[in-house]
Amino acid sequence: MNSYNRVVLMVFIITVFTVFVGRLFYIQVIDSSYIEAARNNAIKKLIIRPARGSLIDRKGKLMVINRPFFDIKFVPKNLPLEFDSLTFCRLMDLEPDYFTKRMAELRKQVGYSAYRPQIFISQLSVEEYAKVQEGLYHFPQFYAEKTYTRNYPYGSGGQIFGYLGEINQDQLDKDASQYYNPGDYVGITGIEKEYEERLRGVKGISYQYFDVKGRPQGRYKDGAEDVAAKAGENLQTSLDIELQTYAEKLMTNKIGSVVAIDPSTGEVLCFVSAPTFDPNKLVGRNRGKTFAALAKDPLKPLFNRPIKGASYPPGSTFKAINGLIGLQQGVIDVHTTFGCYGGYNGAIHVGCHAHRSPVDFEFSIQTSCNAYYCNVFLRLIDRNNQVDRNYKDWYAAVQRFGIGKKTGIDLPGEVKGNLPTAEFYDKVNKGWRWRGATILSLAIGQGELGVSPIQMANYACAIANRGYYFTPHIIRKSPKNKVEKHQTGIQQEYFNYLVDAMEKVIEGGTGTIAKIPGVSMCGKTGTAENPHGEDHSIFIAFAPKDNPKIAIATYVENAGFGATWAAPISSLLIEKYLHDSISRPALEKRMLEGSLLHKYPGYINPNPPATKPGEKGDQPKPTTNDTIKPQAVWPVNRKTLSSTSIAQR
């Protein structure tokens, strides 16, 4: 027997074990990649979503809050094999096959694990949850988890606040800061979008152990590396939520906009786009359904008219601008008079209603004389035969009122409207030498002009302040929110003439219907022709005359004269804001109940009623109880513009 026979096995053992120790040294001590791999395996980063900031109105009332909802959850693996889904669905007040359907749905989801909690019913309201709760008691495998969604105690302001929605892939791709994760909710429109970064807060991170089946196994290092979530900022807005709610009520069954601004600060007090919607319906389980219905509505309740409704011609409200520019540029003074006999009769004819003649500046505003402004405009544009230069001067002067450019309000999606440029007219007239008469419709706020309601309200502020305005804004001024002051470049004395004239509009002019007892108020009516049907009813106003507290612009689409709808609605809102009470209940009632829906193309009355209060409300009939003094004769027979006389674009 060979001597090495005894040692062979030992040599093998030593060799193999040495190789093992070497291998262990390599994978445990030298190669550190396994440490990272183990971490990735077992430790997951959990995101803690912070509470979103609330919105508060100017008086400190909560307008947008977070309300608890309940998700009914369960871990599929915990269900007994012979789970009686039928009894369960019956007790839970669900369709008998809901369980089967939901399970099929869940299994299809990416990343589904039967060991991980799954949502069985999502976003039950507190009331819905209360109903289910009792049944739930018999099924310990199911449990409720509280989540938060937006809630709007006043049910108004949907257009301003905007809404939240699940982030989409496009937004995720554009998210340079890598803040968002799929499934996060972001502001889609309105303040929610504009102030997303301040409202959302900062997400927290929690590191937790998970086993191979995805079951949580406790915190990593007892939370030493966790980051606490930071709740979103509560933002104070300048809105008066009660005024907002009241304005929305007044605009019920009408299409249009109301924007009220505190002229001394530029703070938006109310901001209505009618028809509107209850923002509470855009949260919770029925969000999708509601949203689809709103999107399909021919009256476009999701369209934010005050900042996007740029096709509105300003109508006669625009005359004040032309008057001011005329005074400033010296083509007229306050004593200059023009004759008006049924309108302007130059190269073209612009009709006007019956009033005394000749007309000076004050009376021209008071009675809204077309002829006067045609003359002013022609003097402005055709002066010295320098049409092009004059038009550019005029253009610049108008733009200083915030027209034809964005006001810079802190809401997303504002449009700049349309203030046609000289180049535009060059192009349209193709080599023809155009002059004042060619574009005469601009004199009375018609033609190509498109002014959004926010621009209109802003313009009212400029008048109220006698020469300047602040950038309109909804979130209150703070170091983070700078507010700019804009000068119109018109001397204050001209404004003083205008303001006096606008007071006369209310006291004894086209807007007497808007007179509020005990309030010195200034206003200007407008009636804008438009290609969509009956004229738009427009009104701008501010009050009190000295130290104005509120400036307002109201548009009611296809409602006729400025004085029929827009002026009374504005007046009620001003009274509500200044006095917090209404002294003219009959007028209020008529405005609240008046419906103009039958006037809108595409509107289908879901339940045609036999009687409809205010149905014939397009022509207000002052009743005997009305507090309006019947001194107003103007609204009745006035027609600003005969559509046949000026070529509409």
């Binding site: 062979v8 093998f12 001590v29 190669d31 183990a38 395996n41 152990y209 086993d211």
Partner: protein
Amino acid sequence: MAGKQENPFKYIDRPTLILMLALVLIGWVAIHAAVYSPQMGGPFNWEHAAGRQAVWILTSVFLFVVLFSMDYRLFEGMASISYILMLGILVATIFLGKEVNGAKAWIQIGPVGLQPGEFAKLATCLMVASYLSSYDVRLENQTTQLISAFIILVPAFLIILSRDTGSALVYASFIFVLQREGLSIIYLVLGLATIAAIVLSILIPAPYLYGSVGVFMLFYVLFSRRKKQATITAITWTGASTAIIYGVQYAFENILQEHQKTRILLLLGKIEDPSGAGYNVNQSLIAIGSGGFLGKGWLNGTQTKFDYVPEQTTDFIFCTIGEEWGFVGSTVLIILFGLLLFRIIHIGERMPTKFGRIYAYGVASIIFFHVLINLGMTMGILPVIGIPLPFISYGGSSLWAFSILMAILLRMDAGMRSTMR
């Protein structure tokens, strides 16, 4: 029976006993850590592997004591009977066995399932020792070699039939026993050469292999001085290589099961699949590798505790040790195994009888092969072959079998030392 029997416990080999107990305790602690969760309660909970292992440990101690109290001279006589009985059980298992993880290797007796394969090693070990120690048997004899091979390969073959190929591999360890008893070392070298050839056959496509063998032989003949003899040698070797290459490739394609093929290909780096078939090894490496030098500490391992490593109480129990005790702990375990094996060889060499020595070598070889295959698998240097780590892995059959194996060895040692005195 001559002479009065002395108390055998007095002569028990203490170092072996201590090493064995240490390993069993390390195993039990590791099993507890592998399934640990704060909610599970203590380590004696029957619901958990550690609790059940405690029962296996206590019953093993009982078995050990019972066997140790027997007359050591009985074991040699029991060899053939137990071997034949075992073959019968293995055949029965093929037909009556319960299928677990694709292998029909379990027999259900009441509440416990047993793996006859674990005990077959023991019976085979006794049988080999008994045959080789019988009068007039010399391993230089071809008949003896054939009979030995037959004794070893029959149970291995039966185990393959019950689709537990991994366990069958352990029977290859008897080559060390035969080698110790005088079988030429050529066989061991040939065995290793065959493994190398098999690996090459799988790794390299057949035409290249045939080509390189042909070219090699051609050069051998060309540069040889005695052309005639060289040609004969070359033809013989070419034939043999061709047979091996063809045989291996045939076996690989037709005999091995799909999962075994995948495992081998994975190990040889032919395919890569960390989420599929390579998952086990990958997770095992992550667990061990993340342990670092000192480990994460007892019960602090995440990979085994949270089930990332499959079979973490049985075949992959070493992962828990590697993860929680690190390089230091793992090395200590390997050293403990080394010491135990050396001690068993030492016991074997001091045995006065051939039977005793052969049996001891059998025990050492079986344990060595288990450690080799199991640790090699968890460290990713050998294919995934599901066999337990002796004394450490969870499982009644395995622990019982190794306890009996050791009890018989220590009893014989104690008995002979007591009578020699």
